[in-house]
Amino acid sequence: MPDRLDDLLHQLPMETMSADLPARIQLRLRADRSMQRRLQLGLDAVLAVLVISGLLALGPSLAGAAGWLTGGSVESSMAWFSALGSAPAPAVWQTLTGAVDWVQTLSDGFGVTGLLGLVLVAVPLFTWLRRLMPEEVPGSDAGVEWAGAMIEEGAGA
């Protein structure tokens, strides 16, 4: 039930804020947004350079690995399925060893330069993809954990 103290507390005198405070805040926000845009552009430029460098590094390696990347055919797949039907265990074993060989040959074909190129392309792509995703689920509070944490500390003490 509201009492006199409540009434007084609702009407406490308060010095008024500077009339231009909202305008100053808006100016700061504009400056901050502008700086963020410039930083974003700079970062995008660096990432673009990384992608181009990565593609240049990948070029020769991709040519070498192309044979292995497109090695499969319909006939070989059909043969594998028929082998799987007649003798599953040897077929699976052969597939596994084939896969290990394939990875080994692919990495040999790529070489260090190719792998470096892959990383140079992948990192910017992941960075851009991450930017497209929502940072947080809306509804989660920015919150202030500090007071709650202190309460819990106090309760635990």
Binding site: R4, L5, Q11, L12, S18, I25, P134, E135, A142, I151
Partner: protein, 188 residues
């Protein structure tokens, strides 16, 4: 506190990155935010600095704001977070020492205020509020200047509802005691 559909639309646009919508929110909410921060801040300059920083953080974290919920409590929580960074350096805030014990403070002592002129009483009360612990001033600011409900204050500060009630009771009891003491002084 209900959510005005117009404001909800503004908040939704701001969350999506519409700078003009966010600037409009700055115009709407800054006076109220200043009042509640100023109640707890030692001076006006610091209150303005806290308010500015709170808006900057609100813009950076705008995606965390839920447009279907009232905007002001979310903003207030950021402002309180900014404020504690500064105040903690001087003296750690302590919401813990009261526990959840709810005391019944008799309201009879308020009768002393009846003898004071309203304006004078408010001036004196404002002075007493300034003498309170920062965390109590913060809660009083949220309640009386920010006009938040108890559950909203609990959400803003991340403390249980009963603790909010306890803090408010304690703060009001302290204020009553000061006013009674002050009133009894010249007479006795």
């Amino acid at each position: 506190m209900t959510t005005d559909p117009d404001e909800q639309d503004l908040v939704r646009r701001a969350v999506e990155g519409d700078a003009r919508a966010f600037d409009r929110l700055v115009e709407i909410h800054t006076p109220r935010l200043y009042r509640l921060v100023r109640r707890a801040a030692p001076d006006g300059a610091e209150a303005e600095a806290v308010v500015q920083e709170a808006w900057l953080r609100a813009w950076k974290n705008r995606r965390r704001c839920a447009p279907n919920r009232p905007f002001f409590p979310w903003l207030a929580s950021i402002a309180m977070n900014v404020a504690r960074d500064g105040w903690r350096k001087r003296r750690p805030l302590d919401f813990a020492d009261l526990g959840d014990v709810v005391e019944e403070i008799p309201a009879a002592g308020i009768s002393a205020e009846g003898r004071l002129e309203a304006a004078e009483a408010r001036e004196r009360l404002a002075k007493y509020v300034n003498d309170l612990r920062p965390e109590w001033r913060m809660i009083l600011g949220l309640r009386y200047d920010g006009e938040l409900e108890y559950r909203e204050i609990a959400g803003v500060l991340g403390i249980p509802l009963n603790t909010v009630r306890t803090h408010l009771r304690r703060a009001r009891a302290a204020l009553r005691a000061r006013m009674e003491e002050d009133d009894a002084g010249p007479a006795g």
